[in-house]
């Protein structure tokens, strides 16, 4: 299975004939590592890297996206090779579902439905007392289905998320990582740094999957298309953040894999340092590679593949083949 390559060190990506190399200098010596082109799903760059157009053209030929992050692990942007399979008629359908308020709301609600389902699943699985999340399950969750606009929906979702993050402190067994409030840009403490980093990875993984289909990533439903360049990725990531990212955070903290030493902190912000990033990426990779027997396909699919299937379900929704129902982990 093709996998994601994460480059944490500084160096150069070079193409020599039909092989891609990552070169870096160690004690004055150049170390050269071949990256098997057929096994690369996408490349994530966290270090300082030199790359030339010859290498970029090679990536484009092989349909490999390159995602770039700055020193603090914030997403800077992507090199997305020109899309080969575009479907004009699908884009037309995608737009129709955006401009029709009812159709748009159906999808927006579906994404939040999937998100809240996995939020509740996390709380249940981590032994949180039912009374502690009754307000999410019994009061707020049913309300999302009655909303008429994405703004109204987002407000309820915000409420759910506030309560959810408060319950993080009951799951997390290390008070250094207690959450006071969720903040981004920049994250103020280690737990916020973990959430932000995980969500950024999720966004890019979803984007890579969308990119492999005919879906147009700039047309979104829950999020406004103005929000980010590829806002459909934000929409779909809602479902997968609590399913994939949050359990990684709980396990990294509670199994004492990650500690405060894995962060660089200043008065006002915190971010994962290289060691911390590597630990997170390792756990993330393992999670995406996990498999489950799919009930309908009757074959094993990886967690990453579940994201692709979600894209297919959206396409089927747009072409009026089958109504979209969000993924809900059934095990």
């Amino acid at each position: 299975m093709a996998r994601r390559f994460y480059i944490n060190s500084n160096g150069r990506i070079r193409r020599k004939e039909n092989t891609l190399y990552f070169e870096r200098e160690i004690d004055g010596e150049i170390e050269k590592k071949a990256l098997p082109i057929n096994d690369i799903d996408s490349i994530y760059i966290f270090g300082e890297i030199n790359i030339n157009t010859k290498a970029l053209n090679f990536l484009a030929q092989n349909d490999i996206p390159l995602h770039i992050f700055n020193y603090y692990g914030y997403y800077s942007g992507s090199f997305l090779p020109r899309k080969k399979n575009v479907s004009g008629s699908l884009i037309v359908e995608q737009v129709k579902h955006h401009i029709d308020n009812q159709k748009r709301q159906y999808l927006a609600i579906s994404f939040i439905e999937g998100a809240v389902y996995h939020i509740l699943r996390n709380l249940r699985k981590n032994g949180i007392n039912k009374d502690d999340y009754q307000d999410i399950e019994k009061e707020l969750f049913p309300k999302i289905f009655k909303t008429k606009t994405p703004e109204e929906l987002m407000a309820i979702e915000g409420n759910i998320r506030d309560k959810y993050y408060q319950l993080f402190n009951k799951i997390i067994e290390n008070e250094n990582f207690y959450i006071e409030k969720r903040d981004k840009r920049p994250p103020s403490n280690p737990i916020n740094a973990l959430i932000s980093f995980g969500n950024t990875l999720m966004y890019n993984t979803v984007l890579t999957e969308i990119y492999r289909t005919q879906l147009e990533p700039t047309i979104s439903y829950l999020h406004s298309p103005q929000e980010k360049r590829f806002s459909l990725s934000l929409d779909l990531a809602e479902i997968f953040k609590p399913f994939i990212v949050d359990p990684i955070i709980f396990s990294l903290i509670n199994n004492q894999v990650i500690s405060l030493n894995d962060f660089d902190t200043d008065l006002n912000y915190a971010y994962l340092n290289e060691e911390g990033r590597k630990k997170f990426l390792k756990a993330y990779e393992e999670k995406l590679a996990k498999t489950i027997k799919h009930r309908k396909l009757k074959r094993k699919v990886s967690y990453k593949q579940l994201i692709r299937l979600e894209c297919y379900k959206l396409i089927k929704h747009f072409i009026e083949d089958e109504d979209y129902k969000p993924f809900k982990a059934w095990w």
């Binding site: 399979n85 575009v86 479907s87 004009g88 008629s89 699908l90 492999r212 005919q214 309908k296 396909l297 699919v301 593949q305 692709r308 299937l309 297919y312 379900k313 396409i315 089927k316 072409i319 009026e320 083949d321």
Partner: protein, 168 residues
């Protein structure tokens, strides 16, 4: 049956092929909803490229619709990986013969299965022509439909590149 409007109905060979494999695949392919190349598809391309190199077939692209390997004065040829989809492959070649006939060129067809060391010889009959005309009308109808045809639930689905799309 009256004469069909060939100029309006003519299409490319792969669509004739898909019509006999799966009408849903035909519809999706027409909307350019395609799947990533699977290992099997890549193998098919390689077999196509690497087989019969000595013969130097002259590939001819007609009307930007059909691409035919013309082998000699008599025959056109297609290379296929397996004979699992024999009917679809046969109809695709017969369609090429039909197309050429419309242009005033009469040829015969050969399907090569290099991996099976097998060949099949084809000639266009009047019955084939009727069948192709009927198919062209049917294809047109399917492609005009707003929605894709339903999933066919056949054993062949498991090997199809659309499997995960259809059954997810």
């Amino acid at each position: 049956m009256e004469d069909i409007n060939f100029e309006e109905l003519k299409t490319n060979g792969i669509k004739i092929n898909y019509y006999y494999v799966c009408k849903r695949k035909l519809w999706l392919f027409d909307r350019k909803i395609s799947m990533e190349l699977s290992d099997r598809m890549i193998l098919g391309q390689i077999v196509h490229q690497e087989s019969y190199k000595r013969d130097k077939p002259k590939e001819v692209l007609i009307d930007n619709l059909i691409s035919i390997d013309i082998v000699d004065n008599l025959n056109i040829r297609e290379v296929k990986l397996s004979d699992k989809m024999a009917l679809a492959d046969k109809m695709q070649i017969l369609y090429y013969l039909y197309y050429l006939k419309k242009l005033g060129i009469n040829k015969k067809g050969i399907i090569n299965y290099p991996r099976l060391r097998k060949r099949e010889f084809l000639e266009l009959t009047e019955k084939d022509e009727k069948e192709i005309e009927k198919t062209l009308i049917e294809i047109n109808k399917i492609l005009k439909s707003e929605k894709p045809p339903p999933v066919i639930n056949s054993p062949i689905c498991k090997k199809c590149s659309y499997f995960e799309f259809c059954y997810a």
